[in-house]
């Protein structure tokens, strides 16, 4: 079975500070792709960052970066210089290479405080 675990239901961070959201996944497959999606109050799901599991280098997208630990099956998201607009639910997800299906975690609600 494929599972995604986000152990932090809710987190808070002060504006301009750094926060890390954790995610672990469980699959016996080696070929997969990992994603972080953001869901603001408008409820639209927006891609934040993507990581190919076969790549050693951690993905970075402006203020967002991941710490991908393949052996530990850990895929955490670091948000630097947090902004009020980062307030949202964040979902970790992965897809297996030959399977047409995303697995989502339960989400972490991030509150950025002024």
């Amino acid at each position: 079975a494929q599972t995604v675990t986000q152990s932090q239901p809710e987190m808070s961070v002060q504006e301009a500070e750094t926060v890390t959201l954790s995610c672990t996944y469980d699959t016996s497959e080696n070929n997969n792709y990992l994603f972080w999606y953001k869901q603001p109050p408008s409820r639209q799901m927006i891609l934040v960052i993507r990581q190919e599991a076969y790549k050693q280098q951690n993905a970075t997208e402006n203020r967002f970066s991941v710490n991908f630990q393949k052996a530990a099956k850990s895929f955490s998201l670091k948000i630097s210089d947090s902004q009020l607009g980062d307030t949202a639910m964040y979902f970790c997800a992965f897809v297996l290479y030959n399977f047409n299906k995303f697995y989502f975690g339960s989400g972490t609600k991030l509150n950025v405080k002024p």
Binding site: R43, A93, V95, F99, N100, G107
Partner: protein
């Protein structure tokens, strides 16, 4: 920038009624998906669709559900006889490749009374 659209944004229906949720995926995408999110819970995969047929479906996607791509642009989810527990936000998504980023629509909130 192309985007996935969904209609209606909110649908209210009586238990036992049929509903059809509509989606227009991004035009050059080949893979289409439906997800649901019960309020306060995680996003759950329902079904994926490629080459005019279902490629994957979850245990949630039982005989009450069906999907169709009737005209080459729309992608619909039909629930034949709605139950109270079908109340949720339903998201459509599309992707150019099966393992790549999925682009989500804004969702349809379904309320079953």
């Amino acid at each position: 920038e192309p985007e996935v659209t969904q209609t209606p944004s909110h649908q209210v229906t009586q238990m036992g009624q049929e509903v059809i949720l509509r989606c227009v995926p991004i035009s050059n995408h080949l893979y289409f998906y439906w997800y649901r999110q019960i309020l306060g819970q995680k996003v759950e995969f329902l079904v994926s669709f490629y080459n005019n047929e279902i490629s994957e479906k979850s245990e949630i996607f039982d005989d009450q559900f069906s999907v169709e791509r009737p005209d080459g642009s729309n992608f619909t989810l039909k629930i034949r006889s709605t139950k109270l527990e079908d109340s949720a936000m339903y998201f459509c998504a599309s992707s150019p490749e099966s393992y790549n980023e999925q682009f989500f629509g804004p969702g349809t909130r379904l309320t079953v009374l």
